[in-house]
Symmetry: C2
Subunit: 293 residues, 2 copies
Amino acid sequence: MKREIADLLDEKRRVVEEALKSCFKEKKSPEKLYKAMAYSVLSGGKRIRPILTLLSFERCGGRDISQILPLACGIEFLHTFALIQDDLPSMDNDDLRRGKPTLHKATDEATAILASDALFSSAFELFSKMEIAESERVRVIQEITQAIGPDGVVGGQVIDLDQEKDFNPKTLRHLHYKKTARLIAASIKCGAILAKAPQRTIKILERGGVYMGMLFQITDDILDVVSNEKTLGKRTQKDMVQNRLTYPGIYGLDRTKVWAMGYAKRAKGYFALLGEPFEVFQDITDYILTRSF
Amino acid sequence: MKREIADLLDEKRRVVEEALKSCFKEKKSPEKLYKAMAYSVLSGGKRIRPILTLLSFERCGGRDISQILPLACGIEFLHTFALIQDDLPSMDNDDLRRGKPTLHKATDEATAILASDALFSSAFELFSKMEIAESERVRVIQEITQAIGPDGVVGGQVIDLDQEKDFNPKTLRHLHYKKTARLIAASIKCGAILAKAPQRTIKILERGGVYMGMLFQITDDILDVVSNEKTLGKRTQKDMVQNRLTYPGIYGLDRTKVWAMGYAKRAKGYFALLGEPFEVFQDITDYILTRSF
C-alpha cells in the first residue's frame, strides 16, 4: 500500500508541478518580482495541499481537471507565501529552504516580502477567475481567507512567535490548528466544493482534513527532532534551540508518537464514513504518519 | 467651493472612521494581532480611497450605505497594509507615520508584517461577504487583486525600491500608475459596480480615477518637498535624500506643477462627461490639486 500511495502522490505532484510552471511561463513585469515568486514556488516541495485538492475534487466526481488547477495553484501560492515569511530575519531567520537559499538570501528582504504579497494577491486573483459558478468562487474565497488570515496561518504565526506564550498543550493545539490544520482542511474541503459534493461529504472531508493537518504538523515536529540537516534540506532542531512550542518539547518523542497515532486514527475515522472512493485519504493519513516513524 | 468640498470630505470621513472602528469593536484572538491591525488602521489619515468609494456608490444611485461600507473598509485595510510595509526597515525604514511611531516601532517587525498580512486577508474576507450579488463580489475581487498585486501597489513598490531603475519619465509614470493610481481608480470604479451603474459610467469613472490617482501622487511628491516634518507628521524630503524617482526630482518643482494641472484637467474632463451628479469628483480633483499649491 505504501508503495502505491507514494506512486499516486508522485503522479499528482507532477500534475501540480506542471500547472505551477505554467503560471510563470509568460514573461511579466516587474520581472524582478515574477522571478522572485517563481524562485520560491518552483523550488520543489511535497505539494501536499494542492494534491489533496486534486484528489478531493476527483473522488467527489469532479472530471474537468482544468477547473480545479487554479484552485490547487492558488493554495500552493498561499503556502509558499507563508514559507517565505517564516524564513524572514524578523521571524525564523532561516538561510536554507528545500536545500536552496531562502528567498531573502537569494534576493533581499524587501523583495522577499513583496514576492510573498504578490503570491497572496495572485492566489485570490486565481480564485476569482476560476471557471466555475460565481457562488462557488465566493464560497472558496471565504473558506480560504479564514484558513489563511487571523484565524488561520497568519494568526498561528503570531502565536508561534509570541515570546510570552503559555507553554501549555491547549496553546500548542490552538497553534497547530491555526498554522497548519486549517489550510490543509480547506485544501480538501474546497476541492469537494468545486466538485459540487453533497454538504455531508464536504463536512466530513473538512473534519478529517483538520485531523490530518494536526498529524502533519506533529510529524513535521518529530522529523525536526530526528532528522539531520542534510536529509531535510533545512536547519533542523531549531524548534528545540529556539524554545518553540512543539509536541516533542511538551510531551517528549514517545508520547508525541502516541498523539500522532491518535490524530491519524481520528482522521481515518472520518474518511472511513465516506466509503471506498475516499480510502485514498486514509492511505495518505497512514503515509504521513509513517514518514516520521 | 473649496470650503464646501472640505466639509463634504469631512462628513464622509467620519462615516468611514465609524465603520473602521466597528471592525475592531469585538475582542478577537490573537489579541496582539488585532491590536496591531487596529493601531495602524485607526491612526487617522485622509481616508480618500474609501470616501471616493462611498461617493461613487452614492452618485451612481446606490442607497443602502450598509452595502458599501465593507468595500470601503476593505479598501482602507489594503491601503494600510501598503503603508505598514512601506515603513518597514527593509523598505523605507520610517519611524513616524501620521505623527505616531510606525507599527514596527510600536511593536516589532514580525508583528508589523503579520498585521499587514492579516489586513490583506481580512479585506478579501470582507469583499467575499458583502451583501450583494455573488457576481458583483467576484467582479470587485478581480478589480482589487489587479489594483493591489504585481500589476498594482505591490508591483509599484518593487519598481520604487529597485536600485537599478531607469530614472526616466516613462518609468516614473509606470510607477505612479501601479503604486497609486490603480487603487484610487479601483476605489471609484468598485463603488459604481456595487451601485449597478451602466458600463459606460463605470468606464469613465475608472479613467477619471486613474488621472486623479496620478495627480494625487504628484501632489504627495510636491508636499514632500515643500512641507516640513511637523505639519506632515512623517519624515519629509526623504524622496530627495534617498534619490527616489519623483516628479520634482525629474522635472523640478515648477514643471511638476504643470504636470499636476495637466492630470487634474484630464481627470475633470472625464468626470464632466457624466454631468451634474458627478461634479463632486471634479471638485475633489481641484481640492487635491490645490492642497499642494
